[in-house]
Symmetry: D2
């Protein structure tokens, strides 16, 4: 599972990056976890669905939504957990991912980056997606870790980096 | 998603019922959510894995574990959410299920039954599995609902009842 | 801190027991934690406020409410924590108490009793308050503990038992 | 209630600012909520205890700790809530405060600032305390709010600003 974090609403170019990121995850046979709502969460989920429709594979989309009704999830989520935790579900999203990729985003995404950092998760940020991701790409949040939030230029680069950090080799030919 | 709740350790006959319940869920093409640990949770998850191996289908096993490390989940879980909520994850388990089936169990299972009741979920209890499930099968927990915890005698009956209450028809031939 | 649990709405006679329980807690210089809303939670909180007004002392009333707005707490709460956890805050209520007293109640109270049992908290239940408290007074929820939910007849008896179990001696003269 | 957030360990000069902040809160008859552990949390709590011992008043110290054992709280906490939510309790800390003051801090404090921003809480940051507080003083986290994280130079200035934003007048003579 890879967590994708980003704004609940975003500019079309940011959404396009999120969707491409989802397709790359599906291509690498990785599954996705998000906060299950709109914007970047929806676009990345849609990308996974499109990618596995085209390329096959059994990538899954898990959505951990803040509310209590499964119907609040976007339509590209395969498995919904209605956490009822409000924005507190942000912690569960990053904890569920083995790695985290940030796309754009504001203070909600910032809370997720801060948690991911505390939890020691590998973190990549799309440096051309604006918002928090662009601002913090290539930086350290504090001194507890020696690595940085990895700035990546493209969705494909993000997934390649994540695979490498997770020690995961996509199946040959994919 | 159907939630199966029950004790983290249980007698062999109870585990056998949980495993059969998992197989019935797979046969009906339903997915499973549990608390992701041992005992009834493990047996039901194993049953789903065995059922889909034999019968095909894409039933999933979701495990919402109390701790923070995905490795704590039993090996039959497909998707792990390390909630870090401790026994507070019990609420998320029942909220994630459209219906709930209880197998044996003690006070942990009782907290889940109480939450499921409050949330208005359809609840079945295997009346020959002992513990809380047997004790509360056929009863009402308070006056807020007019229905009862449905007492069922067999795993197959539990799944049939759940399908009916969810308005779900397994595919023909399954 | 002593947790008092019970229904969000209740018959006048049950509320009167909760209020008397609050007064007894104040008399014993104990503080109270509840779920911060109405019914038994409000009556017990009111009892503490009345008790300390009459008798002095610095007993506090802590309210752990399900929602996100402090204004949702009843007016007798001194310190509000807007948990935003919904009914998941039930676990925090019993965890915050060194001991738990149940007054009446339905399935919400049952979830709290089940958690309190799992956490090993001393539990008393007012056996003449109806509901879950009356039903489970004098029983064990499962085999993990050797003690019982202590059935007590009066609020004063409840507080005396709690003090004894907590190894707490109210100041002389009180 | 005012939330004070900051690192669980900190340089002596930062701790001194946190302690002075606690004293100023007590002087203004305000109560404190923190995450209940060490470092800035402990120093601010100690400051409140010292302040009310010197100056009177009934300021309280509430500690929302990540673990499940009340004994993990620092000794200056009056009321402990053992949330069992791990770092997820950060959200409850800022939600419990009517206003938030940041002192130093790293990624944990950053998660709290991000949540406080999302929740619309007034936020002050001690600009000479280093860490996240110094870095974000005078900035906006995203465009959803028009105000800024208020940079303040001294603990007294922080409390004066908080009182003004909360529309709170300390009693005359204090």
């Amino acid at each position: 599972l890879v967590a994708v974090i980003g704004g609940g609403s975003a500019a079309p170019s940011v959404l396009e990056q999120a969707r491409a990121l989802g397709r790359e995850l599906a291509r690498a046979r990785l599954s996705l976890v998000t906060g299950g709502l709109g914007g970047v969460m929806r676009a990345a989920s849609r990308g996974v669905c499109e990618g596995r429709a085209e390329l096959g594979g059994d990538s899954l989309v898990l959505g951990l939504i803040p509310g209590t009704e499964a119907a609040q999830a976007n339509p590209f989520v395969d498995v919904v957990v209605p956490t009822g935790l409000g924005i507190g579900r942000n912690l569960l999203v990053v904890r569920s991912g083995e790695a985290v990729v940030a796309v754009g985003g504001g203070s909600g995404t910032l809370s997720e980056l801060a948690f991911a950092w505390q939890l020691g998760k590998p973190i990549a940020a799309l440096s051309q997606s604006g918002g928090v991701a662009a601002r913090l790409a290539g930086t350290a949040l504090d001194e507890r870790r020696r690595d940085l939030i990895e700035g990546v230029s493209t969705p494909a680069e993000a997934v390649a980096w994540v695979c490498q950090r997770m020690g995961y080799s996509p199946l040959p030919g994919e």
